[in-house]
């Protein structure tokens, strides 16, 4: 019984859904049964077009995410290891941290066009903040004894950064990646819902405007599964690389 506990609430929710769907109180447009959602899900998975749309969304997500990861780690390292850079850049980041970068999207559309580039640019900007701020804290908290030892043994500045500072802040880098990855996916989906002709976000709003609720929910399931799989993959990668510190798939 105790082993079943984690599943109770999930099962209860699914059962409530199915009962509500089959009770006939609401139109199937509002509560399509799990069976119909499953059927639509199968239709989506079994056709090449579905995979193509998922790939478009993933391509945008990873494009912006990867760029932000590289730039954010570089910036965070720079700020963490140089007092001057920290003083210079910190106000810029903390001042604009709480501002929703999504508001820039219409301007980005004018600058970068309606295609993928404006979306990737926005994902980059939105992910850059958590990446930079968390790696900055990581680079600051590197044990100075490690750096002194490296310098004492004649390591150059560059070598100290690559061989000592970077591995020491790796747990922070992964914490930052873990915050940034769902953000990247969210922004990709939002921007596709606002203005796009392809991608999963577009499919959601298209299914809604054609009142295909079951199809819309099937795509919601696909997006949710993507979010979950990406997160678990990231944690698996982290446990591989940061083998001296284990982490379960729960939130940090």
């Amino acid at each position: 019984m105790r082993a079943l506990r984690p599943y109770i609430l999930i099962i209860v929710l699914l059962a409530t859904w199915e009962i509500a769907a089959r009770s006939g109180l609401w139109s199937p447009l509002l509560f399509p049964s799990l069976e119909r959602i499953g059927k639509e899900l199968w239709l989506f998975v079994s056709r090449a077009d579905g995979w193509w749309q998922a790939w478009v969304s993933l391509y945008r997500t990873f494009g912006g995410f990867a760029l932000a990861a590289i730039a954010g780690v570089a910036l965070g390292m720079l700020m963490g290891r140089s007092e001057f850079m920290a003083k210079l850049l910190d106000p810029l980041f903390s001042g604009t941290y709480a501002v929703p970068k999504l508001a820039l999207f219409p301007i980005f559309i004018f600058v970068f066009g309606l295609g993928s580039i404006s979306k990737i640019a926005l994902i980059f900007l939105e992910c850059l903040y958590p990446m930079t701020i968390i790696t900055y804290h990581g680079a600051k908290s590197v044990n100075p004894v490690l750096i002194w030892s490296a310098q004492n043994m004649g390591a150059s500045r560059m070598r100290t950064l690559v061989r000592v500072v970077f591995p020491a802040m790796l747990p922070y880098v992964f914490a930052a990646l873990r915050v940034a990855l769902p953000v990247a996916l969210i922004v990709a989906i939002i921007t596709e819902m606002i203005s796009s002709v392809d991608g999963l976000g577009y499919l959601v709003s298209y299914a809604l405007s054609s009142l295909k609720t079951d199809r819309m929910l099937a795509i919601v399931v696909v997006i949710s599964a993507l979010g979950l799989v990406l997160d678990h993959a990231l944690v698996a990668l982290r446990n591989r690389l940061v083998y001296w510190e284990k982490l379960d798939t729960f939130y940090v």
């Binding site: 609430l9 508001a103 820039l104 919601v220 949710s224």
Partner: protein, 248 residues
């Protein structure tokens, strides 16, 4: 004075370069900082900006309040009660990496296209950071502190109020800060996708009619609101947690 000058130098430099580039001529969709401020001041004299800002806040703030209160209460409960934890937490952690905004169309079907669906989607998005931070804050309470309090004759309620809660507060504030930023993002997204008022609607309308000045006014308004909310939260944090040094 001198340190503030150094700290602000990067911001000033960016604005100065931007203004100089604007003097040399920029495309239509990039306004110079001085022009943006001019348009913003002009818009402050009209009714529309206040109406849209108020409409946006009436969505973001109730959503933020509902989501964080539920998240903190349930998170603390799951953090201290084992059986509750085992039932609730798996669902929360399973759905955590799911982008909550995809539920907006579903909510629009269930609760209509009005404000209710927007408030609820904001509440849903704010729930997660509030829950997770309160949960880990409560779980991180030092055993020895609890034992000492119990040893000194404190009741369970007293232990919660005097030991667990103060210990979890820094984490709770961290969660609220994330939730506040998130509430603005989701509000904006919801308004851009579907709304008849609000700053997100204003920016979308400005975009459609190529009114770049209005776009920047809405942008600046949302930036100021987001910044002010964050400052307010940090001020509250410093007030309630005088022993904690605040960091960004």
């Amino acid at each position: 004075m001198k340190t503030t000058l150094v700290r602000l130098s990067a911001v000033i430099a960016v604005l100065a370069v931007w203004q100089l580039l604007a003097l040399r001529g920029l495309p239509d969709f990039v306004l110079s900082p001085v022009d943006i401020v001019k348009h913003f001041v002009a818009a402050l004299g009209t009714q529309e900006l206040y109406r849209d800002a108020a409409a946006s806040l009436m969505r973001a703030l109730p959503g933020f309040a509902i989501g964080t209160v539920l998240g903190i209460v349930l998170g603390l409960a799951a953090g201290i009660a084992r059986s509750f934890d085992e039932i609730l937490s798996p669902l929360v952690f399973l759905t955590y990496p799911v982008p909550k905004i995809v539920m907006l169309p579903v909510f629009m079907l269930w609760f209509g296209i009005g404000d209710v669906s927007k408030v609820l989607i904001i509440a849903l998005a704010c729930f997660y950071p509030a829950f997770i931070n309160a949960y880990y804050g409560a779980r991180a309470t030092h055993r020895i502190l609890v034992w000492s309090a119990r040893n000194m004759g404190a009741s369970e309620a007293e232990i919660f109020r005097r030991v667990v809660l103060p210990g979890a507060l820094p984490q709770i504030f961290a969660g609220m800060r994330v939730a506040l930023a998130l509430s603005f993002i989701v509000m904006f997204a919801a308004e851009m996708i579907n709304a008849r008022s609000g700053l997100g609607h204003l920016i979308r309308e400005a975009e459609m009619s190529a009114r770049f000045d209005l776009m920047y006014v809405a942008l600046l308004a949302i930036a100021i609101l987001g910044y002010a909310g964050d400052r307010l939260l940090r001020f509250l944090r410093a007030y309630f947690l005088p022993w904690e040094e605040s960091h960004t």
